[in-house]
């Protein structure tokens, strides 16, 4: 009898050791890989004191860069949300030929290098491109101007809303919507009052991811914008240039600002989601 109990205890101790080992390895990995660099930038950005931070924000090119980034983000979020919901509904609910292909296409922007996206845009809208005559005739400047920057950012940010919403839709099923129809609700009414509230959190999280991605985009925007200082320079492009011109301090500060914004946004949504599920539970 005693041998059985000691072996059980030994087993448990072994299990506990394993767990401790796994935990410490994992924590160490995360600390070195993720937290240390974060700590590093916080330290170096604020090293020169808040006065330097204020000075950076007063610079006109910094402000313009933030302004541009904000515009791109807003437009991107609006378009990807609208388009994303529609595509998500179709993907989650309908059966059609080529569905797998569409699903793969939706994931494509995630796998393709943003640099390639930028190149494609240049080839399409730049001199000699397929779409160039159309826009040139209307006097709209696409490449090396805001429109193309917005376009590539939209392309790159599309998957986020869709990928967050589709699984939620799949899990919900269609019964509530069908019930709403039998009660006389039109498709639009049903969407507004039944579908939307049900996908609320997934949607918001997807929007936050989309927004975070759009403010962080650098590769595609670099190619497409021509990087004209003060005109087509986003916050990320500013950071690139600032580093090149040995204005590292400013670069750190702007970088930290961008990161903080996204982090706060995502944490905010996470907390709201957790609180919401606690209420409903």
């Amino acid at each position: 009898m005693s041998t059985i109990s000691t072996s059980a205890r030994a087993d448990r101790r072994k299990a506990r050791l394993w767990r401790a080992l796994m935990l410490s390895v994992a924590l160490l990995y995360v600390a070195v890989l993720l937290l240390a660099p974060l700590g590093g930038i916080i330290y170096y950005a604020l090293k020169e004191g808040l006065g330097e931070v204020g000075h950076t924000f007063r610079q006109s090119d910094v402000r313009h860069a933030f302004y541009l980034t904000a515009i791109i983000m807003v437009v991107t979020v609006i378009v990807t949300t609208f388009f994303g919901i529609i595509v998500a509904l179709v993907l989650a609910r309908d059966r059609f030929v080529g569905k797998r292909l569409v699903s793969a296409l939706v994931d494509l922007p995630l796998a393709v290098s943003p640099v390639i996206v930028g190149l494609m845009a240049v080839l399409l809208f730049g001199r000699g491109g397929w779409f160039e005559p159309f826009f040139a005739a209307r006097g709209i400047q696409v490449i090396f101007a805001l429109p193309s920057m917005i376009l590539v950012t939209i392309f790159i940010s599309i998957p986020f809303v869709i990928r967050e919403v589709v699984p939620v839709l799949q899990e919900l099923g269609m019964e509530e919507e069908q019930a709403a129809w039998t009660l006389g609700a039109s498709r639009l009414q049903t969407f507004r009052r039944v579908t939307l509230p049900n996908i609320r959190w997934g949607l918001l999280y997807g929007i936050a991811l989309s927004a975070a991605r759009s403010i962080g985009e650098v590769g595609a925007v670099l190619i497409v914008s021509g990087s004209l200082q003060g005109q087509t320079e986003t916050a990320t492009l500013y950071i690139l240039r600032a580093f090149d011109q040995y204005q590292e301090q400013q670069a750190y500060i702007v970088a930290l600002t961008l990161a903080s914004f996204s982090i706060v946004m995502l944490i905010g949504i996470e907390t709201l989601k957790r609180r919401a599920s606690r209420e409903a539970g």
Binding site: E176, A180, L183, G184, A185, V194, P197, N198
Partner: protein, 373 residues
């Protein structure tokens, strides 16, 4: 407010699978009708086509004399209750019940009154501000019913409404639905695989199998005069005996049973006998035949007798104890069969004539996880 439901020649296939095949029946105004059948019989699909949630390949749907086949779900003004309730999880009970009214822009005051009225009717008045996940299964289904009835639909459709509930709650709600129907008089059509439920609740039963209608009629007709072997086997417990027909009797071994009217001599036939339609006597008579008593199981006021015929086919009788005093295992007695339903063997498919002699039990063994068609 109630209307009749008419369905003519409804047909629907999913790919190469024919789920519903030329189904026609009528549910009269104010009645409660059951669509009864096993999983895969197409009954849910028929219901959903009436509601507009599926489109038929052929056939038409008529409610209160008006053809609805092309109408959208929203325009049909039918109440629908789902097996898994489909309550709007982000709305309170009150908001759920009020939904059909608020969608039609009924004013808030009237909405509130109607919701109160219905919550009272389903016995959930104090639960108005709860959310669906705070309610039990039975309560949720009652909310679903209140919600479906709020906009005063002409007809009420229920898709296995009690399928997701456990046995006791199912009984309660069954009695309660009966009561509700008597009070409101809304024409109701419900789908079920539970024949007990159908027999208890419905004025008319439509028995379906493999997408086709087997029989339509009131409960006692279905039970006592089954039109097809499937109905005989599916509804109510039955003994299944196989034999050959000779001069309008079915012969199995030395035993015979009357009733093989239209079956030609020499053909194989199957007789379905209810366990209580068996009489045990001590002496041979003109119609009785010898049986051996293999086992007796006492079940309170009645007993189950496991008998065996001379040709080896088993027979199970369920009789009140007073009719079988002194009957014990090991005895050789005689059995008389009352009211056998006889069909030509080729009419019965495998399921209706499974293990010869086995009691084909009613389909209460179907679990609620089986897919509905």
């Amino acid at each position: 407010m109630a209307g009749s439901i008419q369905v003519r020649g409804l047909t629907k296939s999913f790919g190469s699978f024919r789920a519903v095949d030329d189904v026609t029946f009528e549910a009269a105004e104010g009645t409660i009708t059951a669509l009864l059948g096993p999983s895969g019989s197409g009954k849910s699909t028929v219901l959903r086509m009436i509601a507009g949630l599926e489109q038929p390949d052929a056939g038409s749907v008529w409610v209160a004399g008006e053809e609805l086949t092309e109408a959208s779900v929203q325009d049909r003004r039918l109440g629908f209750v789902f097996q898994h309730y489909a309550l709007f999880r982000h709305m309170t009970v009150r908001k759920n019940v009020a939904f059909g009214l608020s969608v039609r822009r009924v004013d808030k005051g009237t909405q509130r009154e109607r919701v109160d009225e219905l919550l009272e009717l389903v016995g959930l008045a104090p639960f108005g501000d709860r959310y669906p996940d705070q309610l039990s299964g039975g309560q949720r289904q009652r909310v679903a019913l209140a919600r479906a009835l709020a906009p005063r639909p002409q007809v009420l459709l229920l898709d296995e409404p009690f399928g997701a509930l456990d046995a006791r709650v199912r009984q309660e709600l069954r009695a309660w639905l009966d009561h509700l129907h008597r009070e409101l008089g809304v024409t109701s059509l419900f789908v079920t695989h539970d024949q007990e439920e159908a027999l208890e609740l419905a004025n008319e039963i439509v028995v379906m199998n493999h997408g086709r209608v087997e029989q339509v009629g009131p409960a006692d007709a279905i039970y006592n005069q089954p039109a097809t072997p499937f109905v005989a086997a599916f509804v109510g417990a039955s003994n299944v005996l196989r034999g050959t027909v000779w001069e309008r009797h079915v012969h199995f071994g030395h035993s015979i049973v009357a009733g093989a009217h239209e079956i030609p001599d020499g053909a194989e036939a199957i007789a379905y006998i209810r366990p209580h339609d068996i009489e045990i006597t001590g002496e041979a008579g003109s119609t009785s035949f010898p049986v051996a008593v293999e086992r007796r199981t006492d079940m309170g006021w009645m007993s189950k007798l496991h008998l065996r015929l001379e040709d080896g086919q088993p027979l199970v009788a369920q009789l009140p104890n007073e009719e079988i005093v002194g009957v014990e295992a090991g005895q050789r007695l005689f059995a008389n069969l009352r009211n056998p339903k006889v069909f030509a063997a080729d009419r019965a498919d495998d399921e209706s004539a499974t293990v010869p002699g086995a009691i084909v039990a009613p389909a209460e063994t179907e679990t609620q996880t089986e897919a509905q068609v």
